[in-house]
């Protein structure tokens, strides 16, 4: 089981999707590819949890606990999303789409997975950048599967804004490289290697590194949906088909955060504490603050979730910025929790869209009465994302906030807590409109095993992780925290 498998499997699945002649075969390839990938990823991640970092491809690929957390995430949510899509888009319902588009969907889906894996696994900063740009390009098509006006608009904005953002990031990377080369290290490929740079952090010029971090923060921050770079996010996430939204919101954003984390580690090593931490906290809190009014007053439930992603990315960034064990641990756990919860929510949004034919909050009433199962999942999901126990997000939020206090960022932490209350209010407000109340539509008879199964699993995940974090996963997180905090790695 090598890392190569991770990269080859989606490639092959994509290829097979191109070649597949019929819908059933395509569906089979689509799902089994994701399943195989997930299997490989889990095996790899938990087998290497205890061991040190593994380099491959001439040091271009690095699997350390930090990367492993993200690999785990991509593979798991990828699988869920694939299974869900198998019911959602490939099913017999009227949401299903023609074969050509399905094919395109399957291809780009797997390419998307590939590029995301590459983002988190690459040790080479340049390759990481390429992969991130790759995710944009691959997912732009996924956002616009149905060629509706609004989808095109969303995809276009997504494309343009992320490309500009990513250009800024490249600017930063060049500066890093420049700092490395001018720091007396000569030239060479390995000067773009994160691990190498980290070991020579002392020779990097602090001023240039600061400048570089600023650009990278702006660039990857755009991808990660940190305010005020987030403007594309609600559009893209609300227009994409639900399984894609789940991937975009749950995983893609986190991948960009992983990029930011890597640079943050580097910058901190070169510049010392206080700079990148401060920026991360600032933008983290700002993201939460910016998301807040949009969650309080919102007419579209998918956009509601999208803004909540902005909020949660902000929280994650703040957690990383807070530092200390609890901050970082919380942030990493939060990434995982948010991914599971948010994808569950987007999946259930797919269901809701199916039932109610509208994305408007006003159009959805009495969900619990209309469909008790779906209503319960949605109810639980919204409460979970709003940070209520016994769901997992609460644990990570609490950890992040503890980190804030532990690192004595009282103002920022208090602000976050206040904003979280408002956001909670917003969510409960919308929830009590959507989920509660008298039934307005006939109960929907058609049940899809694939889709319901995914919802069950998602529900199980967010509840069980909220109550108990299994040992191996705990070890993985601790390892990742050590990487970020710089104690071994």
């Amino acid at each position: 089981m090598t890392i190569a498998c991770l990269l080859v499997i989606p490639l092959i699945s994509g290829l097979l999707a191109v070649l597949s002649p019929a819908k059933r075969f395509l569906q089979w390839v689509f799902v089994s590819g994701a399943a195989l990938l997930a299997g490989c990823a889990w095996a790899l991640v938990f087998r290497t949890a205890g061991t040190g970092p593994r380099f491959e491809f001439g040091g271009n690929i690095l699997l350390d606990p930090l990367a492993a957390v993200f690999v785990f995430l991509i593979a798991t949510v990828g699988l869920l999303s694939a299974v869900y899509a198998a019911g959602y888009l490939f099913g017999e319902s009227d949401l299903a789409i023609p074969l050509v588009k399905l094919k395109r969907y399957a291809i780009f889906f797997h390419l998307f997975l590939l590029s995301m894996l590459l983002v988190v696994l690459s040790n080479n900063l340049g390759i990481m950048w390429i992969a991130i740009e790759g995710t944009t390009l691959a997912s732009a098509f996924l956002v616009n599967v149905d060629d509706k006006k609004s989808s095109i608009e969303a995809a276009w904005k997504y494309l343009i804004l992320c490309t500009v953002g990513i250009a800024l990031a490249l600017f930063g990377i060049i500066l890093v490289y420049y700092s490395a080369t001018s720091g007396g290290g000569g030239e060479g490929q390995d000067l773009l290697h994160w691990s190498v740079l980290l070991s020579r952090a002392a020779t990097l010029d602090p001023q240039i590194m600061k400048l570089a971090f600023v650009f990278i923060l702006a660039g990857y921050g755009t991808k990660a949906g940190l305010a005020p770079f987030h403007s594309w996010l609600p559009d893209a996430h609300s227009q994409a088909p639900s399984p894609v939204s789940a991937l975009l919101s749950g995983v893609l954003l986190s991948c960009s955060i992983s990029g930011i984390i890597r640079f943050h580690i580097l910058t901190r090593a070169a510049v010392g504490g206080g700079f990148s931490d401060g920026l991360l906290i600032f933008f983290g809190v700002l993201s939460v603050a910016v998301a807040c009014p949009f969650i309080l007053v919102q007419g579209d439930y998918k956009r509601l979730l999208a803004y909540s992603s902005v909020e949660h990315m902000g929280l994650t960034a703040a957690g990383i910025g807070f530092g200390s064990f609890f901050g970082v641990y919380g942030a990493l756990l939060h990434i995982v929790n948010h991914a599971f919860t948010k994808s569950l929510l987007f999946f259930s949004c797919g269901h809701i869209l199916h039932h109610f034919r509208t994305k408007e909050i006003r159009g959805v009433r009495g969900l619990l009465k209309t469909s008790p199962f779906l209503g319960t999942v949605f109810f639980a999901g919204i409460l979970a994302i709003a940070g209520l126990p016994p769901f997992s997000v609460f644990v990570s939020e609490f950890s992040i906030l503890s980190g804030g206090f532990a690192s004595r960022h009282f103002g920022a932490t208090a602000a976050v807590i206040a904003l979280l209350v408002l956001i909670f209010a917003g969510f409960v407000r919308h929830l009590s409109e959507m989920a509660l109340g008298e039934r307005v539509r006939e109960p929907h008879p058609s049940r899809n095993g694939w889709m319901d199964g995914v919802l069950w699993i998602g529900l199980f995940l967010i509840v069980s992780l909220g109550i108990y974090i299994p040992g191996p996963f705990q070890d993985l997180l601790h390892g990742a925290v050590r990487v970020v905090e710089g104690a071994g790695g």
Partner: protein, 220 residues
Amino acid sequence: MTGAAWMLPALHFVAMLLLVTSLALIVSPQLFACIRFYALHSFLLALITTGTALYHRVPHVLIAAVLTLVLKTIVIPQIFYRMIRRLGIRRDVETYLNIPLSLIFSTLLVFISFYGVGNLRAIKPPLSQEFVSIAVATLFLGMFMMTTRKKALTQVLGLLLIENGLFLLGVTTTFGMPLLVEIGIFFDVLVGAIIMGVFVFKIRGAFEGLDMDQLTMLKG
């Protein structure tokens, strides 16, 4: 290690020209003029690349110079011309700001980039000092251009300007990234351009025009 003494002032001069071209690109009211200025900009970039290659004696940078010359001064402008003809786009550039205001903001941006990046101490090749600033300026100007233009196509042009800025920075400070990365970036940019092209056509199909004001259904 370094080249002839005359090259330095010459490079300074070309750098200044590059800036002026960027400004011209931003204020020019005509689409074709824009493209021409872009071609000029790319040409000057190629010149600087060549100059850097010669001055610092790094021959592999010459390849980049040649590529720039071919791709950016010839191929991309040609593609643009064709697209404009095929899509039947109106040739004047619609902006949110008038020319004097644009100029004022642009020069302000240039100043900010010189001021903001001017104090980097550890810059090794002395030439790079100003090129970092100019690259940042180009980056900002490109983004500024994107923010003030109404049409999709001119926005893409702004993106290309940003890309030029990146290229400038990469070439003049680090003499290019490692090959693998360079190829990857190149490939990405290419695919990106193609995908954007596809979307330009889709937008045209769906919205009957490329005016970005129409693409404001999603808000709030």
